[in-house]
Amino acid sequence: MRNLRTYFFTYDGVVKALDGVSFNIRRGETLGLVGETGCGKSVTAFSITKLIPDPPGRIMDGTILFKGANLLWGLEREAKFRPVPKTNRVKVIRWYHRIKRGQDRMIAVRGGGISMIFQEPTSALNPIFSIENQIGEALLLHRGVQIIDGLLGATPNAPAVRVARDGLVRAARTKDPVAIREAARAFGAAANLPSLGTEAYYLFRQPVTDPESRLSELDHAVRRTRLTHWQRRYLVRQRRVLELGRLLKEVYMREMREARSVGGPRRAITNRRLWERLKTFYFGLWGVRGRMKKPLTRETFWQAVQLLEGVSIANPVQVARGYPHELSGGMLQRVMIAMALSAEPELLIADEPTTALDVTIQAQILELMRNLKARVGTAILLITHDLGVIAEVADRVCVMYAGNVVEIAPVKELYTRPLHPYTQGLLSSIPRMDEPDKKLESIPGSVPNLIYPPTGCRFHPRCPHAMPVCKEARPPMTVEGEGHTVACYLYNGPVYRG
């Protein structure tokens, strides 16, 4: 991310929420983003996914390079700005069709490339849909083609299924959970449909005296995965629509990578997509669609259960059937994480994921995120104001103050050798569990008003080492060690260039 500037145009003037923010996130690493309230942490997160409410906010300029594609391409053609005389307001003239095009392009990266966990799990989920429904929606959107392929390729009638079924009964008699799990997995593999294995596992998980009594239910589950002729036709047609959507994403990615419009293929795909939708319309008729979609909903339900299992929820089947109001904050945050990971993103933006939770629940969630990082290997941008959380999870830390990045360093380096006066102040103002008698230092003053930010270095009014030069010009980022850059005139290392 390079030189990102996001402004909010309000009646009081222009709030310069982000003013030249640059940092890198490497594949598979966790970058912590720290700062006080109102320093632009969340605005950064929303800018990366282009979720800034527009109006009033606008990303002014900058580039966000994601795997070589500039997500902000075409930005300068979306709006023009005219200052209103005698006020500090600015009139923004927006070309909404171009803004819409820019937003459309984001479907290429949202979910599958970059996904996000929001701060308030209670308000991020829709209260009127069940958990299963909401995770299923994300699954269909991002992995629809794979899901349909799986359904079409399933072999519930194969002779191996019969053999695996007997194995499952034998394992259920031993009452050994590991054996049951293994047998259920083998059952799913025999039917060439892993979700059937999950379903079988939850049928036999509870210790039953008589496993044969569950067999009719198991057979029923198998019967549900057999597709009728019309269901198969519906799925094939749906797959074609989804395939076009995937092509469209690739075209958008190409546009952003090559920084030029490739209107021809895009228009062709959009038209064909519309045509396919029209052709599938009659399947969408009331009473027909439900029956057609049945195999699909069954599949997404059990995949959602698998995802919930992955975020260590003890009773995933009940949770998947439930609604958001039935769950506690910690559970909801797990559901959010499961949903964000459903598309296997390459970058996960976690915007204060644990602020609304209690410490014991916070410890559970952090442990979960550490495990997921090891297992899935996604890069994480962890936004928080809690330096303790950062120390536990992050690899590198980026400290922000009033819309500027002031210091970036590897996590150990930052805590042992903080260079910027703001970072030093921040670190010495936390009450520490391990050093209780330490006198708490505090940073005098408070965060500046971003409509009239201080000139030069934005920290100079509160800085203990302020010099005359600090008032005049913004300090450049200088390199002060391996991967350690800082924006302060106290240090005069070589200037950092990308």
């Binding site: 006080e36 410490v359 330096l387 959380v389 120390a391 536990e392 569990m433 408070s446």
Partner: protein, 393 residues
């Protein structure tokens, strides 16, 4: 500071607050939310008592009960009982045992002279308990017991000048004339680190930290000797939080104030308090001097709580104690020990019998079946420290 040095200020005994749940036919009483269920502790003059626990464990309710902002279901808070009364109270409660509460008696019997003891107790309560005072007595006492609220954005009236906000308690208690009040307000603002020019501003012109200072100035106006600090820094940033904590410490040293510091943030509690009370689902699970509690936590819940705090030091690697599941609902708390559903060291007895709060070492009380009674004399206990808890990995 030793608890014995300073005179006793508040003595909380068996405090309970049940909020009724109404529903069903004719909105009849169908159950209780046991927000606070038998809480006891002492506050001495000039000391800070930390009150720790997760959200929904009844911390804030205790704070509001201590000021009688809400009426308790049962129990007493004695204000400044003289030493002889205090020893008598101790003896009465000792003799009565947990049986007179009749709720978690575990089959214990009342002593034969219970009637007489209860009568004596109510006699003392008439004189010293906050909940037996007449409105007029209480009005006098309100100046001595003050509170600073959690949210500085909603606890100050947006229509009043700072001067009016801070001088309102003085006016209510008829302290001095207008000129004296004005001077006192200016003094107070100085004490909390604001300028006299801030007198003529409205709350919306201030940042969160400055508003919290105004709230503190308002609480200090009547020279109280006890302030409930209900999560005073949880709405603030760390750098501002440090400013507020330093001001609170300075004021305590100058004016010999006692605080009840309510917080879920254990590291803040450690830096502020002399003694700490840990609550879980309306019950006190552990009570000890700060250093003792943080160096030798005894209750499994306290241990897990301490292990869960992220420490801002990437080089430190600790053993983690992860609690499974969530806090149960206080409307239907689990039987026996309320923590047994999440406890890593749970035993069969835990789900049947509720453990009493027993002293383990001087001043250190724990309610857990792992620690059935006082340890051996100090020399012996140091030679053989208690066996470490089995830790769930």
């Amino acid at each position: 500071m030793q608890p014995g040095d300073a005179p006793l200020l508040l003595s909380v005994r068996n405090l309970r607050k049940y909020f009724p749940i109404r529903g069903g036919l004719f909105s009849s009483h169908i159950g209780d939310v046991r927000a606070v269920d038998g809480v006891s502790f002492d506050v001495h003059q000039g000391e800070t008592v930390g009150l720790v626990g997760e959200s929904g464990c009844g911390k804030t309710t205790v704070g509001r009960l201590l000021l009688r902002l809400i009426e308790p279901s049962s129990g007493h808070t004695f204000y400044r009982p003289p030493p002889d009364v205090e020893t008598r109270l101790r003896a009465i409660y000792e003799a009565l045992g947990p049986a007179h509460l009749a709720l978690d008696a575990n089959g214990q019997k009342l002593p034969p002279n219970a009637d007489q003891l209860l009568r004596e107790l109510s006699g003392i309560a008439q004189k010293y308990s906050l909940y037996r005072m007449s409105p007029r007595q209480l009005q006098k006492l309100r100046g001595k017991l003050q509170i600073v609220f959690q949210d500085p954005f909603s606890s100050l009236s947006p229509r009043m000048l700072v001067r009016d906000i801070v001088s309102e308690p003085l006016a209510i208690h008829h302290m001095g004339n207008a000129r004296q009040r004005y001077q006192r307000v200016a003094e107070l603002l100085q004490a909390v680190g604001l300028n006299p020019e801030h007198l003529w501003r409205f709350p919306h012109e201030f940042s969160g930290g400055q508003r919290q200072r105004i709230g503190i100035a308002r609480a200090l106006a009547l020279r109280p000797d006890f302030i409930v600090l209900d999560e005073p820094t949880s709405a603030l940033d760390v750098s501002v939080q440090a400013q507020i904590l330093n001001i609170l410490k300075k004021l305590q040293a100058e004016q010999d104030l006692a605080y009840l510091f309510i917080s879920h943030h254990l590291s803040v509690v450690r830096s502020m308090s002399h003694r700490v009370v840990v609550m879980y689902l309306g019950k006190v699970v552990e009570r000890a001097p700060t250093e003792e509690l943080f160096n030798r936590p005894m209750h499994p819940y306290t241990q897990a709580l301490l292990a869960a705090i992220p420490i801002p030091d990437p080089q430190l690697h600790r053993e983690r104690i992860l609690l499974r599941g969530d806090v149960p609902s206080p409307a239907s708390p689990p039987p026996g020990c309320r923590f047994h559903t999440r406890c890593p060291a749970v035993m069969p007895v835990c789900s049947k019998v509720e453990p009493p709060l027993v002293p383990i070492r001087p001043g250190h009380f724990v309610a857990c079946h792992l620690y059935p009674g006082p340890e051996m004399p100090p020399s012996a206990s140091e030679a053989a420290p208690p066996a470490p808890l089995p830790v769930a990995s």
